[in-house]
Symmetry: C2
């Protein structure tokens, strides 16, 4: 997906939220906001929104002299998700359709994406989770398991910290020996990196690699040769979140996208309404 | 109020909404969005948000070769408001405290401000109005009537089209002979101009003037000598909406601000939470 003019307010909002979180001095805040506006105005919009966001967050990290400004938020998200695990395992045990529930949970895990987008308090999370799980699932969860059974190599692309605990529950139901789990190659917003994968103990279940890139999505040209090899070999990609959708949709590779639709541009592209939970091959 | 970095996402969102509404060609949309981003990034933020918005909307009118791009929206807002008048007059007739209700209605009229900000359908309006009227009013409506009684000259600053029908109900309860009602000097977004004042038959009740400026607020230096004379002579200013608050708060003139608080920056400045209806001297 290319960057559209409708994506710009959202990118600017992300810039503003990052500034509010990371900078205290009013003049520095203004200076950085002006610089980011200029960067967005002059960047190549033929690229996807995560490509613009990648450059934006590099500038933010440089300006704050902080290589991982969302580190403590990511730890919080992991901690909150870890606390929710027993409850979710209990739900899966009681479920008549644990496969579909695991898919729903993996998508709902995105609600922890509080750092940059939604602002849900820790106390409200169980209620929000129940509300999300009561929503219809757009797409066919069974098809994911069917395709995963058929595939020789599966590449699972993670999205955020915290959320990867929810991914773990789904990974436990998929053929683990065929799966490579990929995280971002460097810190960008609250996206999951190797540190988060280790915290969630994902390497105990599946092989985990870094994608070598600090984009909040999967920009193939920007990833490492090792990742591209894995991507090329995979018969099935499981791609979590909007960032991976924006960078990989329409790439001609068999991909199962799992995401909550958060904006009209994605809604129009994927053909499902804003707010819906989608699993789509 | 000066423009803060937190105001920028909102200004960019307004730019995007104007582009969505007024331009069809994708390339033109992108070109204008880049131009507006550059304008915001390079503008003087010591000015108020309406000062930045004024320049932005001049560029939009120039790019669309349309001197009044929101004209049909304003007519729609006036038409919808006109349809609601009998219902509101009925409410006022039955009310035990018609003065406070008229103040509430005048503030609630801002909910018609659908062009650039909220998106409420015509069908949902009566329900939204009831919900708004059930909210607590922050501030003292009685003080407005007391000060209006004492004042020799009152200047009432209008906000949006549609909303001025609601203002009319309040004007009918105030000492009309002392009031001058001012509208914007030229079209800007859906703000009320002389055309709207005439449509709402405001000149039948009070003296109406244009402020000579196309800013979505009241930037005194940008207004006409006639308006500034009125402003100087007034013992009481009644200022509707956020734009007038952003440009006039802290000016040392006795002013009664009437608005719905729509953003955290205003909330912090005025000391009332987002979403609240405020009447404040």
């Amino acid at each position: 997906m290319k960057t559209q003019y409708e994506c710009i307010p959202c990118l600017v909002r992300q810039a503003s939220e990052a500034i509010a979180l990371l900078i205290e001095d009013e003049q520095e805040r203004e200076r950085l906001m002006r610089r980011l506006l200029g960067e967005i105005a002059s960047s190549d919009w033929r690229g996807s929104p995560p490509a613009v966001a990648q450059r934006m967050h590099r500038i933010i990290r440089e300006a704050t002299k902080n290589k991982d400004p969302y580190n403590s938020i990511k730890h919080d998200m992991n901690r909150i998700a870890a606390c929710m695990m027993p409850r979710m395992r209990g739900m899966l045990k009681k479920s008549e359709n644990p496969g579909e529930l695991a898919v729903r949970l993996a998508i709902a895990g995105n609600l922890l994406d509080s750092g940059a987008k939604t602002q849900i308090s820790k106390e409200d999370l169980p209620k929000c989770l129940d509300k999300l799980l009561a929503q219809p699932l757009h797409g066919d969860a069974k098809a994911l398991f069917r395709e995963a059974g058929r595939a020789g190599n599966i590449l699972y692309l993670a999205d955020n910290a915290g959320e990867i605990y929810f991914d773990r529950l789904l990974l436990e139901m998929l053929p683990a020996d065929k799966i490579t789990f990929a995280v971002r190659g460097g810190p960008v917003v609250n996206d999951a990196t190797m540190e988060d994968a280790n915290e969630a103990k994902i390497p105990e279940i599946v092989h985990v690699i870094s994608n070598g890139s600090d984009a909040p999505g999967t920009i193939l040209d920007d990833t490492s040769p090792e990742f591209r090899l894995c991507f090329g070999k995979a018969d099935l990609i499981i791609a979590k979140g909007q960032g991976n959708y924006e960078t990989l949709a329409g790439r001609g590779k068999k991909t199962c996208f799992m995401l909550t639709v958060k904006c009209p541009a994605i809604a129009q592209n994927i053909g499902e309404p804003v707010g819906s939970m989608v699993v789509k091959l």
